[in-house]
């Protein structure tokens, strides 16, 4: 069974149509990269997967059941920023998931339970290359390190789905490449389903197993919000070639121009 399924999904704010006729099936363990112009509903779609936005028409299913209408522990998230807690050290940030689960009253672990959570957290931090900075606060870390921490923090909860909202958008190209390697390794090891939003088409072209392009098929130059976006390309990564890349790039350019003018 598909882990996520969208059937003729629409999202409207009053007269503004953001998404229309979105149909998709996602199997467990896929790594989907989502690209699209800004304002093309890819973030709205991610918010629906998170549970902080609700659809207006159609169906969105998680394991064949109606999608939950608030964030939950089966869906982890890494935002572009503000994903980690500034008042906690690297280790404390990572341990948080264990503390929430095992200490519903105080939210703090003590004794042997604390030791266990610490060693679990250190193991995950090791896998993202942060084991040398356990006692540092987030403000003492670089942007790339903060994103590594945010990923470690989310993985600690062992979510079934990991949502990444332009996680590397604010990073330098070199560091971004490191992060690509990291996320790919972690995905292969854990086998979780990943959705990653990016505005970088190249990133989407080799990172995951599947590339989605959100775009508007119908465009009204006088009223940009009259029609919504849907998934215009849904292609397995690996079978893509330069001409497909150019096709997508051109079509995105077109709608960018129409939308912005």
């Amino acid at each position: 069974m598909a882990i996520i399924e969208a059937k003729n999904l629409w999202k409207e704010y009053g007269n503004n149509v953001v998404l229309e006729q979105v149909n998709a099936r996602v199997e467990e363990g896929e790594f989907i990269t989502v690209v699209g112009t800004s304002g093309c509903g890819k973030t709205t779609f991610l918010k629906m997967l998170l549970g902080i936005e609700q659809l207006t028409r159609g169906e969105l299913l998680l394991d064949g059941k109606k999608f939950p209408d608030e964030p939950g522990e089966d869906r982890g998230i890494v935002f572009q920023k503000y994903s980690v807690f500034p008042h906690l050290t690297v280790l404390e940030n990572t341990m948080l998931a264990a503390e929430f689960e095992q200490a519903p009253l105080l939210g703090k672990l003590f004794g042997s339970k604390k030791k266990m959570a610490e060693s679990d957290a250190i193991e995950i931090l090791h896998s993202v290359g942060l084991n040398h900075a356990l006692e540092h606060y987030p403000h003492e870390l670089s942007g790339g390190m903060q994103q590594r921490l945010a990923i470690a923090q989310a993985l600690m909860k062992k979510p079934r789905i990991l949502l990444l909202d332009e996680p590397f958008g604010a990073l330098d190209p070199g560091i971004r490449a490191d992060m690509h390697v990291l996320i790919k390794t972690l995905w292969k090891k854990s086998g979780i389903t990943i959705f990653m939003i990016t505005h970088d088409l190249e990133e989407g072209f080799y990172l995951g197993t599947r590339l989605w392009v959100f775009d508007k098929i119908r465009l009204d130059a006088q009223n940009a919000n009259a029609y919504g976006a849907c998934i215009t390309y849904d292609i397995p990564v690996g079978k893509t070639d330069a001409s497909t890349f150019d096709d997508i790039d051109n079509s995105l350019d077109m709608s960018r121009k129409v939308l912005l003018d």
Partner: protein, 272 residues
């Protein structure tokens, strides 16, 4: 020659420039005082430094002939106790209500308009009511401070909670946190340094209400003493008391600031 806006004094010069106004006001005072005292040695308006020292020495270092107490210190400790209680109670109420109404939309819908209305009541206008209800004792003075500054602290805390990035609250939910856990592990520790900031801002108002209450009905306290000796035009007591109150305010503010920097290094690093 660099533009004036790009020129910075070095450390010694900065310290000298900073103390200069204090020195000038001191010298101007001495000169004016001397001039007046030369004309009339019984002048009370601008007492000499020596007569002020004598007056303070009498109040602070010698027991009062009537009660055997060291009035200056009794005044100081009563005032600081009232101030501390008032601010402490306000901080606790402000923190709890601010967090709950900032974090929970239902509570906010319920409390926010009410708090706005309460905060618009001039506290001194309800002072007579406090005296009638709570009597003339300590309670009414503490309550006046609390009524005066709590609404501000609640509203400030509420807005600080709402300013926390939504991303953090969403992230905590995806890590399995309940509303309660989000409040005690994500919201509370992050608004504590902001609470100290709010207390520092309300310190001036707290002193105002304290001195007002002491002036009207009290038997000791810094505000009481000033208003008592006003009848005798005892500027030699009033002026040192005002300086002392200012110094205490400065000290409390400094302690709060240092405490915040020590306890919440991550918060002050963000400022920079």
């Amino acid at each position: 020659m660099k533009r004036l806006i790009n020129q910075y004094p070095d450390r010694t010069l900065k310290a000298m420039l900073g103390t200069l106004p204090f020195i000038i006001i001191f010298i101007v005072y001495i000169m004016a005082s001397n001039a007046r005292l030369e004309e009339n040695s019984r002048d009370k308006l601008l007492p000499s430094i020596s007569s002020m020292t004598t007056a303070v020495d009498k109040l602070a270092m010698q027991p009062s002939k009537r009660s055997g107490e060291y009035l200056f210190w009794v005044d100081t400790s009563s005032s600081l106790t009232r101030l501390g209680l008032g601010i402490g109670i306000s901080a606790l109420i402000g923190l709890i209500f601010g967090i709950v109404s900032g974090a929970i939309p239902y509570v906010r819908a319920n409390l926010s308009p009410f708090m706005t209305a309460i905060s618009l009541i001039p506290p001194l206008a309800v002072l007579p009511i406090l005296f009638i209800v709570f009597g003339l004792g300590e309670l009414s003075k503490v309550v006046l401070i609390a009524i005066g500054i709590t609404p501000f602290i609640i509203r400030d805390m509420q807005s600080k909670v709402m300013e926390l990035p939504a991303e953090q609250i969403i992230k905590a939910q995806t890590l399995g946190a309940s509303t309660w856990l989000i409040i005690i592990r994500v919201v509370l520790p992050q608004v504590l340094p902001r609470l100290i900031g709010a207390l520092r801002l309300s310190l001036g108002a707290a002193w105002l209400f304290l001195i007002a209450a002491e002036a009207i009905a009290s038997t000791d306290g810094l505000g009481y003493r000033i208003f008592l000796v006003r009848r005798y035009l005892a500027m030699d007591i009033i002026l040192p008391y005002v300086v002392w109150i200012t110094f205490l305010s400065f000290l409390i503010d400094y302690i709060l600031k240092t405490l915040s920097e020590r306890l919440f290094p991550w918060f002050h690093a963000e400022d920079k």
